[in-house]
């Protein structure tokens, strides 16, 4: 990379490029003197790179803006091209709905205005275009209120620019900017407040009260901006390097911007009813998602004391770095810790990262990305960040009973992975008290599931050793994970079955084919012993042969899966098959999940059979004390969903191929026709048609192209047929899933809920606590083990007071909501069926609420 590029890239950093000098003014001057010369030779390389820097390192935009302001004094033509390009990019981003790019480019234009590169009134015109598009969208007559998400996003973009240029705008074009602010205020008064119901990380206990008073994200930003305006637009988090060059910059010639246009309304105007509205709203929210939902997990005396707008700006910086430097570990961590602000922000940084890790319905990136970022930040700030992370974990742990189930799962996966990167060191003694809590208490389940995942990432003895400082927690470790082979012991098993199993093992050793095994089963075993014993022998024995590793399992399933498939053709039989698998791997949740998952891959088990098994009483009874059945259910649904989304991708790529093939075929045909219609002279005679050799060749081309077109079309049709089947399949899956949830929830909800709520307002002593005697018994046994005293008496305030049935209902409803939310796009497509068959009038209000929340469908529609 030549040095002008490096100087641009590293502008604002303490680095060798600037000889370790971190003074902004000096750096800008140094960079300016190199870049201005470079422009003469290769200006056409410089401005795209400059724009790229601004787009991808947006926290440095003020520095780039000032530099461009200086360049504008020297070379107006260069800067004109740059501005023109930035504007083309913005227009393109608006049309394609690239949220981050739109937001950043508007900030860039704002900063260019500060450096006298762009006329303030031109910027206001951009604001007004967005404002007017937003206002139209939410207008009930002229607009499409279901698309409010886009309108809100545009307003967010306008407001987000003000920390960077509010002062200048108010100074230079006070009336115009005032007009914009009035417009925003008017917009706020006609839009609908956005409810976080269904996507908030914590279940809001008194949600009905808060929902009315609490500001939504846009109102919140508005109030921060108003606060900024009351402070005369002064803030700490935005560097203003242009002020150092003001004397020079004033003489610059400001460029105009041609107007930008927002994309047209995505459909005919008007207010839609019920389902259609909900569907469109869902689509709009997917395209213009809310970027962050603040967690507020740290107590106010811990989190940095910042002005409201500074907090917003730092969040913007952090989210931008996370977004644009995804995949660049070193730079990502370095920029995260090195933001251009004069205050500390470790707590805010931790809270922001956790807000992304736990963002619902989906974080922008896979959760492992945030795991990596946190690991890297712990290394970059070894003295500070690990403790802040630990504080976040403790804060989340304290509120875990209110945590959304999906978030809880993400937190378990993250925490176990994080600890595995730091030698599994954690002060477990702080949490030893969970042993005093009932088995279903969310904190206890959390500890148990973290330990389960740690064991999976490592091995049992190692994790046992890691809880050394709280040895009693060993009780929450999973079993050692060995298989339970029915036919291993001499005693206790039926000798005939044992003999059959041995015989089967010999067949495998003797490399008999699946066909041979099938006939052995059908002729020798099944007639004499019946289905159950035959299934037990075959499944247990094959699993035992495949028990050594994942690959062993796959190998045995590939070779002998047919034997199982032949036996288990309907759901009843497959449910028995799963039961056999879970009995063999009863001590190993991971292998149970893997085996079931692979069997579904090989289509030995249908997703419907898995749903039925998960909702069989044995599993239902542990819904609130173990993640294991939910993991298996998650796998089954996600595999079904993956199949359908793969098909959709293949179809859309085939559709493109069809268009290409059609074009090629018609071109070939035209070429042939034109050649045929030409007159040529052969042997002195005029003949219709060109040189016969060429005609022949063209003919064969045309035929080939036609064949190609037909064949692509055929594969498209085949895939479409598969898709139609997959759509039916997923609809059946969701219906079965919902019906299972309904059946499982009906009675417990009836028993446990009062006045439509499950959370106890006062004491719930008089509630029935009669079920599952076994767990109560075991609890009593727990009391005999010596208890660790709580390191911190205040922990008692978490006093957990739900009875088992209430917790069971809360957990199950939580998963119901989580599944609905994760697959909302899919479910919206089948909503009519769902309304007819599941969401009937007699459905329990809490079930309805869970499903509606998951879909973000208004309950009052």
């Amino acid at each position: 990379m030549s040095s002008w590029r490096n100087l641009l890239l590293r502008l604002g950093e303490k680095c060798p490029e600037y000889a370790g000098n971190a003074d902004f003014k000096d750096q800008i001057e140094a960079c300016f003197s190199v870049v201005r010369r470079e422009i003469e030779h290769s200006g056409d390389d410089v401005y795209p790179f400059l724009i790229q820097c601004a787009e991808q390192l947006p926290h440095k935009i003020p520095l780039y803006g000032t530099l461009i302001g200086l360049l504008n004094l020297e070379n107006e033509e260069f800067v004109r091209k740059l501005v023109e390009n930035a504007q083309i990019n913005l227009q393109d981003a608006l049309e394609t709905g690239q949220c981050n790019k739109i937001r950043i480019l508007m900030r860039f234009l704002t900063v260019l205005m500060c450096s006298k590169v762009i006329q303030p009134s031109a910027l206001v015109v951009v604001f007004e275009s967005l404002l007017s598009s937003a206002a139209t969208t939410v207008d009930e007559e002229k607009g499409i209120p279901s698309w409010q998400a886009r309108a809100d996003f545009y307003i967010t973009c306008i407001l987000s620019c003000l920390p960077w240029g509010g002062a200048e705008l108010v100074e230079q074009v006070p009336e115009e900017i005032e007009r914009v602010m009035v417009g925003v205020e008017a917009y706020l008064s006609i839009r609908r407040r956005v409810s976080d119901a269904g996507v908030s990380v914590f279940e809001d206990i008194e949600e009905t009260n808060n929902a009315v008073n609490e500001k939504d994200f846009l109102e919140d930003l508005w109030s921060r901006v108003q606060d900024l305006s009351n402070r005369e637009w002064k803030l700490d988090s935005v560097p203003r390097p242009h002020l150092s060059f003001e004397a020079q910059l004033v003489s610059g010639k400001s460029h105009d911007l041609s107007p930008v246009s927002c994309p047209a309304q995505p459909g005919p105007p008007g207010v839609l009813s019920g389902i259609a509205f909900g569907r469109q709203k869902h689509e709009a929210e997917l395209k213009y998602p809310q970027r962050i939902r603040r967690l507020n997990i740290f107590p106010s005396n811990k989190i940095e004391d910042l002005q409201p707008i500074d907090r917003f700006v730092v969040e913007e910086y952090l989210l931008d770095v996370l977004f644009f430097l995804n995949g660049c570990r070193k730079e990502c961590a370095a920029y995260m810790v090195g933001l251009p602000v004069p205050f500390r922000y470790e707590y805010l940084m931790a809270e922001t990262i956790f807000s992304q890790l736990l963002l619902l319905p989906q974080p922008p990136f896979r959760p492992t990305y945030y795991t990596l970022v946190i690991i890297d930040l712990c290394k970059a700030l070894p003295g500070a960040f690990p403790a802040v992370i630990a504080g976040a974990v403790r804060a989340l742990f304290d509120k875990i009973a209110d945590l959304d189930m999906e978030c809880r799962t993400r937190l378990i996966l993250w925490f176990s992975h994080h600890l595995s990167n730091f030698q599994f060191i954690w002060p477990w003694q702080e949490w030893a008290y969970v042993l005093d809590l009932p088995k279903w208490a969310p904190q206890r389940v959390f500890v148990q599931e973290v330990l389960e995942r740690e064991v999976r990432l490592s091995y049992w003895d190692k994790i046992k050793q890691s809880v050394e400082n709280a040895p009693a927690l060993e009780e929450l470790l999973p079993p050692k994970g060995l298989p339970q082979f029915k036919y291993s012991a001499e005693d206790g098993t039926d000798p005939t079955e044992r003999a059959l199993s041995l015989e089967l093992k010999d067949m495998v050793k003797g490399r008999k084919t699946a066909r041979e095994m099938i006939s052995w089963v059908e002729e020798n075993v099944f007639p004499a012993h019946g289905f159950d014993i035959t299934l037990g022998v075959v499944v247990q024995t094959l699993l035992d042969i495949g028990s050594k590793s994942f690959t062993h399992l796959i190998t045995v399933l590939e070779r002998y899966g047919q034997v199982i498939a032949k036996m288990c053709t309907d759901d009843d039989q497959q449910v028995k098959l799963i039961t056999e698998v879970s009995s063999y791997w009863q001590n190993n949740a991971q292998m149970t999940a893997i085996a079931i998952d692979r069997m579904m891959s090989y289509r030995l088990i249908s997703n419907l059979a898995i749903v039925r098994w998960v909702f069989s009483s044995l599993n239902v009874d542990r819904f609130h004390i173990s993640d294991s059945p939910w993991e298996i259910l998650r796998n089954a649904v996600s595999k079904t969903y993956n199949r359908i989304s793969d098909l959709r991708k293949e179809i859309s790529s085939l559709e493109r191929s069809v268009v290409l093939a059609e074009g090629a075929a018609s071109r070939a045909r035209q070429e042939l026709e034109s050649a045929e219609s030409k007159l040529s002279i052969i042997d002195g005679e005029p003949v219709l048609g060109e040189n016969p050799v060429r005609i022949k060749r063209l003919k064969s081309y045309a035929e080939k192209a036609k064949e190609e077109e037909v064949s692509v079309r055929e594969s498209l049709e085949a895939k479409e047929a598969l898709l139609a089947r997959a759509v039916d399949e997923i609809e059946a899956l969701f219906l079965s899933l919902y019906k299972s949830f309904l059946t499982a929830l009906a009675e417990p909800l009836h028993d446990a809920s009062r006045d439509g709520t499950l959370r106890p307002s006062g004491h719930a002593d008089d509630m029935t606590i009669d079920l599952e005697d076994s767990s109560v018994m075991e609890l009593d046994k727990d009391d005999e083990t010596p208890k660790k005293s709580h390191p911190n008496g205040s922990r008692e305030r978490n006093g957990y007071n739900l009875d088992e049935k209430q917790q069971w209902c809360l957990t199950t409803l939580g998963y119901l909501k989580a599944f609905t939310r994760q697959y909302a796009s899919e479910i919206w497509q089948h909503i009519e069926k769902l309304d007819a068959e599941v969401l009937t009038e007699d459905i329990h209000p809490l079930v309805r609420k869970a499903i509606y929340c998951g879909l973000r469908r208004p309950l009052d529609e």
């Binding site: 290394k379 500070a384 690990p386 999976r456 793969d646």
Partner: protein, 242 residues
């Protein structure tokens, strides 16, 4: 995204000599592949540990553990096949350089597993490129960083680091070579495993670790060898890349 810091053209600094084709074809293969190569693993790491970690980046299709040619035991590398290219990319981005079983592993795109490539050479060779030392250093650095404090939030000592805030830590280790959105190339993906496996089956010689090794693992983990002799990753054929 982030194209400023990645040389897009370079997906791998290496070239596997066993790859039957030109450099261009090799790079093309890496760009399309849904297989990743994992190096610097502990000899004791099981497939299930690998599965737990790597399934966090996507649905896994197959795992092939690299085995020592002579002893037929794992020798520190493996191949993981995903169904989707996106998942393989995420693995290279997010898992490379993190710890599995006490060792910093590296993850790279692989051009595709073929029978025979699972065999390590079964002898130590002199390291090329010094990657081993680098990861040792990283692990060492990590050991010193764990400090969660004790007690509740309120009892934290002042946790602030020295005032130098924007410093680079310098030990981020291997960032993983990867490539950014390159348009819509073909992403191979067959989730429906009804058809037979893509690769010839290999005979399985390794004995169960689950049962035997885990229980016999001594208290102090002997698996981590001190710097200077952790050469197993070099046993992999990929290291013969030029």
């Amino acid at each position: 995204m982030a194209s400023l810091f990645k040389d897009l053209a370079k997906i791998s600094a290496y070239r596997d000599r066993r790859f039957p084709g030109t450099q261009e074809e090799f790079e093309e293969a890496l760009l399309k592949s849904t297989t990743v190569y994992v190096g610097n693993m502990s000899f004791y790491t099981t497939e299930e540990q690998v599965y737990e970690l790597f399934s966090r980046a996507g649905e896994i299709k197959k795992i092939v553990m690299g085995l020592d040619k002579n002893t037929k035991t794992p020798c520190g590398f493996s191949f993981i096949m995903y169904y989707s290219r996106d998942d393989a990319e995420d693995t290279v981005k997010y898992i490379s350089g993190t710890i599995l079983d006490d060792r910093p592993i590296r993850v790279d795109f692989d051009w595709g597993f073929q029978e025979g490539r699972q065999w390590g050479r079964g002898r130590s060779v002199i390291r090329r490129g010094g990657y081993g030392k680098l990861v040792q250093k990283e692990l060492e650095a990590q050991r010193q960083l764990v400090d969660y404090g004790t007690g509740s939030l309120g009892s934290y000592p002042p946790v602030m680091p020295p005032p130098q805030y924007g410093r680079h830590s310098g030990n981020h280790g291997h960032g993983g070579s990867y490539r950014h959105g390159r348009g819509d190339y073909h992403r191979k993906r067959h989730r429906e495993d009804d058809h037979r496996s893509d690769y010839p089956k290999r005979s399985y010689v390794r004995e169960s670790r689950r049962a035997s090794d885990h229980e016999s693992r001594p208290e102090k983990n002997p698996r981590f060898r001190e710097s200077g002799d952790s050469d197993e990753e070099d046993d992999d054929d990929r290291k013969r890349r030029t």
